[in-house]
């Protein structure tokens, strides 16, 4: 068993535990490489099927290629695709790109808040109708009690302390100082009413592992990750105004793997292209406690 086989099996095991234990389960799909690998792992776990909805929070500032890609594969793989958004905030125009919020405040409004209320079912959810190929209002407003999220331990300090099954209280808060024990493939699957559990199948993966796996499995990822001739590519995807491309001439998955394994990115943190990480001294912990992933 090589390292990728080990990582894959562990993630599959976690996904199957989640599916058995949580009646109202969903997976967050940000369209980035991490959650796309996670989606692929779900197809591995359930033998080609994805037996729960995929939730995407659309900040309206995502790059258009990402939305195109999302809908293409939602149709092709017949995914149960659900989209949520902070419509009121966008309508008010109070955002960072409009110069009315800091980056962190903007993240909080368009991601944290939107996520929280989409998961709880308080705000409208749009769901893809596969007959028409269009999104329509989802009649299911049941809160999701299990939420599968593609975070990794190596991304940032507080994430290195995460559990595979990580409880959130009634206010969506993460109590980092008092987390449940986890051992021998037994996880926290029981939870009090009103609380929910986040499930992290990718905790043990590094950026290099992900790209190696994408290469091995030939997983389609969005073109923004590759240099299109401008000698620039995205290493991590987010909202257009807050994500900058890195200088790189990698045009294929194999070139990216080489670049991360031994090349220019071997020792440079992945999220270095994300502007909002630099604003907050306590790292993402404040935002994470707040429910932003």
């Amino acid at each position: 068993m090589n390292q990728l086989d080990q990582l894959e099996s562990k993630s599959v095991h976690i996904l199957r535990e989640a599916y058995r234990e949580f009646k109202s389960l969903c997976m967050l799909w940000s369209i980035g490489k991490d959650s796309t690998v996670m989606l692929w792992l779900a197809r591995k776990a359930f033998f080609g099927h994805v037996p729960f909805p995929l939730v995407h929070i659309d900040t309206a500032y995502k790059m258009p290629e990402m939305i195109e890609y999302r809908d293409k594969f939602a149709r092709e793989w017949r995914l149960n695709m659900v989209v949520g958004q902070n419509k009121a905030q966008l309508a008010s125009g109070v955002t960072f790109p409009n110069g009315k919020l800091t980056r962190i405040e903007c993240c909080r409004a368009l991601k944290s808040e939107a996520l929280k209320h989409t998961l709880s079912g308080e705000w409208d959810r749009l769901r893809m109708n596969h007959t028409t190929g269009q999104y329509e209002l989802d009649t299911n407003r049941e809160p999701y009690t299990g939420v599968i999220v593609g975070v990794r331990s190596d991304e940032e300090g507080s994430r290195s302390k995460e559990r595979y099954f990580s409880p959130r209280d009634k206010h969506n808060d993460w109590d980092v100082d008092d987390q449940p024990p986890e051992l021998w493939s037994q996880y926290k699957t029981a939870f009090a009413p009103g609380t929910h559990v986040r499930i992290h199948p990718l905790l043990d993966w590094t950026e290099l592992n992900l790209w190696e796996y994408i290469e091995r499995e030939k997983i389609p990822v969005v073109d923004l990750y590759f240099d299109q001739g401008q000698e620039k590519r995205y290493r991590s995807l987010g909202c257009g105004p807050c994500t900058t491309p890195v200088d790189s001439t990698s045009k294929t998955v194999a070139e990216i793997v080489a670049e991360i394994r031994t090349g220019k990115f071997a020792n440079i943190a992945e999220r270095s292209g994300r502007a909002q990480d630099k604003e907050d001294g306590g790292g993402l912990e404040t935002l994470r406690r707040d429910g932003y992933m």
Binding site: M1, Q3, L4, D5, Q6, E8, S9, V12, H13, R16, Y19, R20, E21, K23, R43, K44, A45, F46, F47, G48, H49, P51, R78, S153, D154, E156, G157, S158, S160, K161, R163, V176, D177, Q179, P180, P181, E182, L183, W184, S185, Q186, K188, T189, A190, F191, A192, T206, E212, R216, E217, R261, T262, A266, N267, I268, A269, G281, G282, G283, E285
Partner: protein, 601 residues
């Protein structure tokens, strides 16, 4: 740093443990810094932060990322660090040393295949140096290296090092643990971390880095008995898929297409027809470590939670009572007479603390406490009893199927290893029945007199079948038919109420047990009045009905099965087809009741 490609790369999880402030995080921080494993700019960033807050720089800040950790200068939760050498990729789990965070230390240690245990040379062996040593061995880690840290504070004295080595070796001996090495280090000074130091010419062994690479990756349990907990059974019909797949992660051993398999505790058998996978090359053989799925040659009815074994291999134990070593992490203690949930493999079952043998203070082995409960951070040797039989191995035979966790309310509060399978006859259930019968005081009307009057003996009649099979309709119709012919019959509909509860995954097993217990006790009374008590049950197995038989003794239950018969060796009294005609069904049941002499006219 050079790196191998994924296909041939080895991976290992390591944990670093030891008493609070003995320097665990510093060892890891230093190891990362000295091997160039930190992301560019990270060290400078932490140094700048310390300067800005006018605090001395600590290597530990590279790992103690939580705000509270930096404020208090301690590790609260285990951090995972990614680290690589030319030999392999590592995840190093930096565990906290403070007793308050023992559950976090356990979480980190349980992930690892090898441990580094840190002891402060000046402070010497402390309470948690021992407790962590004990926990590491209980969690099943076989490889431990001891780092004697802060040698700078004892003038790099060989004598001090040797004294700690002798004393700690004696302690580990009691646990049957034999450390791979003792290494004198000064983590903060970078001594013996990645390079040998002039300061201790008397030491010629490995550095920490050398020792980490010297750990051996344990063989993946390939040569053991085949064991796979059935995690789930899938039948996804989308896109015309008609596969029925038994899914799970193989814990030990290997299996191939054509092999016979036995599921425990049901004892049902089948043969592997195919190994299923999505977007992967076809395989005819699978082995420990893989999360996989199988199709079987026959459509047997099994449930998630069973243990899949190879036919002909030594079988696991199937019991309700077993002796364990149990470690408790919950704030409320584990007490007798309370029902908890036990999780082993993919099974969840109700469990109670049946007998306490002794409580061990893990920091001072041998201190035996006479207690009737297990307090936080105690290790207890005790007997547990589950509400239904489970399949398991002894920890020394097959480790992964010989260990379990215990859930109190919503939290994992305990973990343990199974030492011995016990005889079930002393069970809490039999004690309950003995007690009940002993106190049963009879009136003056005899059973015969009752039978003469209503032309029937008392009996619990169970209609069993899946949801929607028509069993409730038949049950009510049968009540009417019996009543109309002059018998004493009663349809007990309340059980449907209990069954609604069973839909919830979390109460499914435990709620169901309680329901059966109640039904058993209640029917014992009503059957004694000479009544034909009719009720319905969904999705029962052999054990459920045998338990009802026990609770109904001296009477036996009368079982009418509707639809597919999913029982193993249990013999039902009447078989009906799915959604049968009610008149025909009642007729068939009445005929059998007559044949058995339950209806006397």
């Amino acid at each position: 740093m050079a790196d191998t490609v994924a296909l041939e790369r080895e991976h290992m999880d390591i944990v670093i443990v030891g008493h609070v402030d003995h320097g665990k995080s510093t060892v890891i921080g230093r190891l990362m810094a000295d091997t160039g494993s930190l992301p560019e700019g990270k060290l400078e960033q932490v140094k700048a932060m310390c300067l800005a807050n006018s605090r001395p720089f600590e290597y530990a800040f590279l790992l103690d990322a939580l705000q509270n950790e930096q404020a208090q200068g301690i590790t609260i939760d285990t951090a995972r660090c990614f680290f690589k050498t030319a030999k392999r990729h590592y995840i190093i789990n930096d565990a906290p040393g403070h007793i308050e965070f023992l559950k976090n230390m356990v979480t980190g240690a349980a992930r690892a295949q090898a441990a580094l245990l840190v002891i402060d040379a000046e402070e010497g062996i402390q309470e948690n140096s021992k407790r962590h040593g004990y926990m590491v061995s209980m969690l099943g880690l076989k490889q431990i290296a001891v780092l004697v840290n802060k040698m700078d504070l004892v003038d790099y004295s060989e004598k001090t090092f040797e004294r700690i080595k002798t004393e700690y070796t004696a302690f580990l001996d009691q646990l049957g643990v034999h450390p791979s090495a003792f290494i004198p280090i000064a983590a903060r000074e970078g001594v013996n971390i990645t390079g040998r130091s002039e300061l201790m010419p008397w030491y010629s062994g490995n550095t920490v880095l050398g020792q980490v690479d010297a750990f051996i990756r344990p063989s993946e349990n390939l040569d053991k008995l085949f064991r796979m907990p059935v995690q789930d059974i899938y039948k996804f019909t989308a896109g015309g898929d008609d596969r029925r797949i038994v899914a799970g992660t193989i814990l030990t051993g290997r299996i191939k297409v054509g092999d016979g398999v036995v599921f425990q505790p049901s004892g049902k058998e089948s043969v592997i027809k195919s190994i299923e996978a999505f977007s992967a090359p076809e395989r005819t053989q699978m082995e420990a470590g893989y999360a996989t799925g199988f199709q079987l040659t026959t459509q047997i009815y099994i449930k998630p939670g069973e243990l899949m074994c190879r036919k002909g291999d030594p079988a696991p134990h199937v019991r309700r009572r077993f002796r364990t070593n149990l470690f408790w992490m919950g704030r409320p203690p584990m007490v007798m007479d309370k029902e908890y949930k036990l999780k082993i493999g993919s099974t969840q079952v109700g469990v109670a603390l049946a007998e306490m043998n002794q409580v061990l203070d893990a920091s001072e082995l041998g201190t035996v406490l006479n207690k009737q409960q297990v307090d936080r951070h105690d290790v207890a040797e005790c007997v547990l009893e589950t509400t239904r039989p489970i399949a398991f191995d002894l920890r020394n035979d097959v480790e992964p199927t010989g260990r379990f966790v215990i859930v109190d309310e919503f939290e994992i509060a305990g973990c343990g290893i199974i030492l011995e399978a016990m005889d079930d006859s002393g069970s809490l259930l039999s004690a309950h029945i003995r007690d009940r019968e002993f106190h049963w005081e009879r009136g003056s009307v005899t059973v015969d007199e009752r039978t003469k009057r209503s032309k029937n003996a008392g009996k619990l009649i169970i209609l069993h079948g899946p949801y929607g099979c028509g069993k409730r309709r038949i049950a009510k119709h049968l009540e009417r038919a019996l009543f109309d012919r002059g018998n004493l019959s009663y349809y007990f509909g309340i059980s449907n109420f209990f069954e609604e509860l069973d839909h919830d995954v979390h109460t499914r097993n435990i709620g169901r047990e309680r329901h059966l217990d109640k039904l058993g006790d209640l029917s014992r009374v009503i059957v004694d009045t000479g009544t034909l008590l009719i009720t319905t049950i969904t999705d029962a197995d052999d054990f459920d009905l045998e338990k009802l038989n026990l609770l109904n003794a001296p009477s036996k239950v009368f079982v009418v099965n509707v639809g597919d018969n999913t029982f193993g060796s249990f013999k039902v009294d009447v078989e009906l087809s799915y959604r049968p005609d009610e008149d025909e069904a009642a007729e068939k049941v009445i005929a059998e009741l007559k044949r058995q002499g339950i209806l006397t006219d």
